[in-house]
């Protein structure tokens, strides 16, 4: 017994070290004075200043944030509807197909999703004249589609966890289905909706491949700009940008963890 329990903590510790050392190194060297990213030349916040004066990065960040906000919100509505349909509305003939279509974007390689959506947009444009050209709108549609799947998974697992008898009771007392949904179901699944939206927002903000396929001139997202810079090599500016983004996430996760530990009775929402 003792032997195995010594192996496990060490393996786990090494695993977490593997996961976190690159992130820590990245953050530490974002405060490096030297232009050579990998050689320490003293503490400085110089690169954060550079970053905040780079119009290309700031512009791309603003586009990405807007796309992420709209896509996450659309995906929240559509994904919640899909999850509700799959868990609450019984059987209908195309249910297996709908269930497959909501789960498949999760594992579909991004190059395939990107290529197929682009070809669809091109075909639609030549047939209906919409969407005219590609850019902001087409990225929003593409991101909504794959984020929808993540929302659906998160909400579905929450919906199948909660006690249906309260909803039944409301129905028995004469509440219309719409009212049951808004007054009982929605407040119960609110934490799942929150994490679904946040997850979608992050995924949209992070997507490079799909956006590259469906984007057009004038709509370069933040990952597209980062990718083109990173291809030329490591740059201290990107380190600063990465640290800022990691900082925001760490803050958010930290707050969530604090909430979670404060009230140990609520179940963790993943």
């Amino acid at each position: 017994m003792t032997k195995r329990f010594r192996f496990l903590p060490i393996a786990t510790f090494l695993g977490f070290a593997f996961l976190y050392i690159p992130i820590i190194v990245l953050v530490v060297f974002s405060f490096n004075k030297s232009k050579l990213v990998t050689v320490w030349g003293g503490f400085s916040t110089h690169w954060y200043g550079e970053l905040l004066q780079d119009p290309q990065i700031l512009g791309a960040a603003w586009i990405s944030l807007r796309i992420a906000f709209i896509s996450a919100s659309l995906a929240l509505v559509l994904g919640t509807l899909a999850a509700f349909v799959l868990t609450r509305l019984g059987r209908f003939w195309f249910k297996p197909m709908l269930s497959g279509m909501t789960a498949a974007p999760l594992v579909m390689p991004e190059v395939i999703t990107g290529l197929s959506l682009l070809l669809l947009f091109v075909a639609m444009e030549s047939m209906f004249g919409w969407p005219a050209g590609r850019g902001f709108t087409t990225i929003v549609i593409a991101h909504t589609t794959f984020c929808l799947a993540y929302v659906a998974v998160v909400v579905q697992s929450r919906l199948s966890d909660i006690d249906e008898s309260i909803e039944e009771a409301a129905r028995d007392l004469g509440a219309k289905p719409v009212r049951v949904f808004f007054d009982i179901t929605l407040p119960t699944i609110a934490p799942a909706l929150m994490s679904g939206w946040l997850l979608s927002f992050t995924l949209s903000l992070d997507d490079l491949v799909i956006a590259s396929f469906v984007s057009g001139p004038g709509a370069s997202t933040l990952p597209m700009v980062i990718f083109s810079k990173v291809r030329l090599g490591v740059s201290p500016e990107i380190n600063a940008l990465a640290s800022l983004m990691i900082g925001v996430v760490a803050l958010g996760v930290g707050l969530a963890a604090w909430q979670l530990l404060k009230s140990p009775r609520t179940k963790p929402v993943e």
Binding site: I23, M101, P109, L241, L260
Partner: protein, 315 residues
């Protein structure tokens, strides 16, 4: 508040208007997500399939039409040129082969690293379990692209590892790690590890402790118990985790593009180059169709694993 929405005039009018077309609230609720996914997920694949049978040409869009109006009606121009090209040019087959190989081995590595972690987290108690789980999930929320980028600084010729080893004096010449398959494996295992740990954890946490006790009471040593009880019971979790890593890795583009060398030939990268560099849409489509066919079996396995997970949940 909801009551006022439901009872408001516009809401009732809309409901009555829709009901006239046979659309009840329920029908509408089903129709909206279904239509969205139909148009933006399923139909695109049909378009890809169609274009894979076209021929590349210099036009806008850059491919030939499948159905052409001629003097005597219509002519169908199905071309298998792209597929023929894929089979005859060794590059594509080699790329499929090396994608599958890299996906296979990185899945195994991720399993070897992830299993002990998932097991440890599942066995640890309340508060610790939540903290560790949070630590596994957190990388999910950090930029994938930037986490891959972090490894460039670590692995490159004058990167952190080489600087460290050379300053201690273990090596005199920098090790070549960037732009190799080694870097690609590191990048993949690093970014996909949480996808392996989470389904494994979900499975292992439900493992009935009394089974382990029974096994040890009957005299089995811990390792035997692990091999004969824990491991077989965690098969659905292992399968789900492996497929969640394997399937997206086969089509991975970012990691081989940033960490791999010119000879790291993965099919996602080939598709990208075919599309963006050669502007050959039919060949890119054919590459995607074959990739989908290759992935059908793993996707079915994943479905089966998840059904297995769900069934064991209800039992």
């Amino acid at each position: 508040m909801t009551e006022s929405i439901v009872n408001s005039k516009p809401f009732q009018w809309t409901a009555r208007f829709l009901a006239r077309f046979g659309l009840s609230g329920k029908g509408l609720v089903i129709a909206v997500p279904t239509l969205w996914l139909l148009v933006f997920f399923l139909i695109p694949f049909i378009v890809v399939l169609k274009i894979s049978f076209a021929e590349a040409m210099i036009a806008r869009p850059p491919y030939s039409k499948l159905v052409q109006g001629t003097e005597s009606g219509f002519a169908l121009n199905f071309s298998f040129l792209s597929y023929q090209y894929l089979v005859e040019d060794g590059l594509y087959l080699a790329a499929y082969g090396s994608s599958l190989r890299i996906a296979f081995f990185s899945t195994i590595f991720a399993l070897l690293v992830g299993y002990p972690m998932a097991y440890f987290i599942a066995r640890s108690s309340g508060r610790w379990r939540n903290i560790l789980l949070m630590l596994v999930i957190m990388p999910f929320w950090t930029s994938f692209l930037l986490r891959v980028y972090a490894w460039i600084g670590i692995l490159k010729g004058n990167g952190y590892i080489n600087n460290l080893l050379m300053s201690i004096g273990i090596i005199n010449e920098p090790l070549v790690m960037m732009q190799t398959d080694f870097a690609v494996y590191i990048g993949i295992v690093y970014t996909y590890l949480p996808f392996m740990i989470l389904p494994l954890y979900a499975n292992l946490v439900k493992l009935d402790g009394s089974l382990l006790e029974a096994s040890s009471d009957l005299g089995a040593r811990p390792f035997t118990t692990f091999l004969t009880v824990t491991l077989p019971l965690s098969l659905p979790g292992m399968l789900a985790g492996c497929m969640l890593v394997f399937i997206p890795v086969v089509g991975e583009f970012v990691i081989p593009a940033l960490l791999g060398g010119p000879d790291t030939n993965m099919i996602g990268r080939v598709l990208w180059d075919e599309f963006f560099r050669n502007r050959d849409w039919p060949t890119a489509s054919a590459v995607a169709i074959i990739m989908l066919l290759v992935l059908v079996l793993p996707i079915m396995l994943l479905q089966k694993a998840q059904d297995g997970q769900n069934r064991s949940e209800t039992l």
